[in-house]
């Protein structure tokens, strides 16, 4: 005997939904949007946290910058390295030449590269004078492969390769240059650097070393520790998380409305259940039918909502959540890191928060109707 393509109960549920296509479509859309609005802020804050963790993981233990009465000023490279290395606890010190310049489509971070660093992807040669390695999100001039950058001076560089793999979130929006080109562009004199990156062996030294390190330099310096940077990011994330809650409130109100409408709708169709019971359907059959019906609405709604939320947050250059929740977003990165474990946890949270109440509303109502007397249900309903 040929088996039916659809289980009879599933086919019945589908026909039931198609009898009222507008109502069913609206229900799926409402659920989809509720899931999306609930999941997007949660995914966004989680992704931002993962991204900052990734970026801080490879950050130096300490960053020393020189200041004078006018603010930041370049630091003498060789002298600062010698002074830093004289402090017990410093295992490495490296002067860095970097800064923000204007690119063809917005601000970019340029980093001067020499044989001491920063490390380049394997099989990538150091950029020579007039050459650049551009990050994956850097937009070039129309006359590719050239890139025009404007800092203290303007320079047009030939793009000779990519600075990082596509997945490297921290390096998607940077341009690596020959260190002398970077100095020219940023207006940093020869023998000077933007700041000094320092490594310590023991993380406990990051804070303990500060008085000795500050005293070692004959200039006014500002030292930022990795812990301090993590704290700044954590404070920013807490603020964004708080703002994200503001998005959850209307979503949860919409969910309450959705649940109320579902309960009312199911009570409004009690006569159907009464009729089916009068025709000989068992309580189990009716519950299975209603579960199938709910799944036909819930699964596409919830799945679509999660996919939409995912695309809104993780689609390359989809930076609207950042602009909305985090104004300094453009300066951070244009691509967020995705952690499957965390995303799975959020999926479970949203399922618990949105889909389960929806399912409970339907099944609870149906159970109450299914165990009632069919004659009473038919008599009480005016149809």
């Amino acid at each position: 005997m040929k088996r039916p393509v659809l289980q009879p109960l599933l086919a019945w549920a589908l026909r039931d939904l198609l009898r009222r296509p507008l109502e069913s479509g609206l229900l799926v859309t409402a659920l989809l949007l509720t899931v999306c609005v609930t999941a997007a802020p949660l995914l966004f804050t989680q992704a931002l946290s993962t991204t900052t963790d990734l970026m801080l993981k490879d950050a130096p233990s300490l960053i020393v910058r020189k200041f004078n009465a006018l603010g930041w000023t370049p630091i003498p490279s060789d002298q600062s390295v010698q002074l830093a290395k004289s402090v017990p606890g410093v295992i490495a010190a490296h002067p860095r030449v970097w800064g923000r310049v204007a690119g063809p489509a917005g601000p970019l971070t340029v980093i001067g590269v020499d044989r001491y660093g920063p490390p380049l992807p394997q099989s990538t040669a150091l950029p020579g004078r007039g050459e650049a390695l551009a990050g994956t999100d850097v937009k070039r001039d129309h006359a590719a492969p050239f890139l025009t950058l404007t800092g203290q001076r303007s320079a047009t560089l030939r793009v000779v390769g990519r600075s990082a793999a596509k997945t490297d979130v921290a390096e998607s929006n940077i341009v690596l240059l020959h260190i002398d080109d970077a100095r020219d562009l940023l207006g940093i004199p020869d023998g000077y650097a933007s700041d000094l990156a320092i490594e310590v062996f023991n993380p406990a030294e990051e804070n303990a070393i500060l008085p000795d390190l500050t005293a070692a330099f004959p200039w006014t310096v500002r030292i930022t520790t990795r812990t301090e940077s993590a704290g700044i990011y954590a404070a920013g994330l807490a603020r964004i998380g708080g703002m994200a809650v503001a998005f959850l409130v209307p979503a949860l109100l919409a969910l309450c409305l959705l649940v109320a409408v579902t309960i009312r709708d199911r009570f409004g169709h009690r006569f159907e259940i009464g009729l089916l019971k009068a025709l000989g359907w068992t309580t189990g059959d009716i519950v299975r039918l209603q579960v199938s019906r709910t799944c036909l609405i819930g699964i596409p709604g919830a799945t679509g909502g999660m996919i939409l939320a995912f695309l809104l947050v993780f689609w390359p250059n989809a930076n609207w959540p950042g602009r909305l929740l985090c104004p300094e977003w453009q300066a951070l990165t244009s691509r967020l890191a995705f952690s499957p474990g965390d995303a799975g946890l959020i999926l479970l949270e949203v399922t618990g928060l949105v889909v389960l109440p929806f399912l409970a509303a339907t099944i609870g109502t149906v159970l109450r109707c299914a165990v009632a007397d069919p004659q009473e249900m038919l008599e009480r309903t005016n149809f």
Binding site: P88, G89, F201, N202, P203, A204, I209, P211
Partner: protein
């Protein structure tokens, strides 16, 4: 018939007791067979030719049982004369084993050869007898307040300025009395 019914539970109890007794005896014999010679498990790899530690992911501290690779900043080692090497989660566990190898390493004191520790500031692996040891500082190791190895007098001054420290000693000055005075506990416990 009545007798058979009365004896059956007694027979079952006797059977269970015999089983338990057999298990107990087997366990005792197995433990004796393992004997003091088997002792704690040494590290998978010995020190290399430069006396640098080669800690494997499976190596456990013979004193507390913690995984050594998870506490790399404070890890240390003792190599015996037969090149058997034990890795430790922290310097405290290493020092206790150095004082009482017969308890923690199942080895005689004469078999001890090289204690290797990491300098607190640089992470350089050095002989524990060549560094200053600081106790009573604010540095916390894997097992609590740490015994900190610091190489050089300049580094020692910097360490004391940053982290304090009640006692400074050399490894050959350490004994049971000093351990008790520093930690308030017995090293051999």
């Amino acid at each position: 018939m009545a007798n058979r019914l009365t004896l059956r539970p007694l027979f079952l109890i006797a059977l269970c007791l015999t089983g338990l007794l057999t298990l107990f005896l087997w366990g005792s014999v197995a433990a004796r067979a393992a004997g003091p010679g088997s002792g704690p498990e040494p590290g998978r790899k010995p020190l290399d030719e430069n006396n640098r530690m080669q800690i494997s992911a499976q190596d456990r501290c013979p004193v507390c049982g913690m995984k050594v690779a998870e506490h790399a900043k404070f890890s240390s080692a003792i190599q015996l004369k037969d090149e058997t090497t034990f890795y430790f989660c922290g310097t405290g566990c290493m020092m206790r084993s150095w004082l009482h190898p017969e308890i923690f390493l199942a080895a005689e004191k004469e078999q001890l050869q090289t204690p290797v520790v990491r300098d607190y500031f640089t992470g350089e692996e050095v002989d524990g007898r060549d560094v200053f040891w600081v106790a009573g500082s604010d540095v916390i190791g894997p097992m609590g307040p740490a015994l900190v190895p610091v190489k050089g007098e300049k580094a020692l001054e910097a360490f004391k300025r940053r982290h304090g420290g009640k006692t400074v000693f050399r490894m050959d000055e350490m004994n049971d009395d000093k351990w008790s005075a520093i930690t308030g506990r017995k090293a051999a416990k």
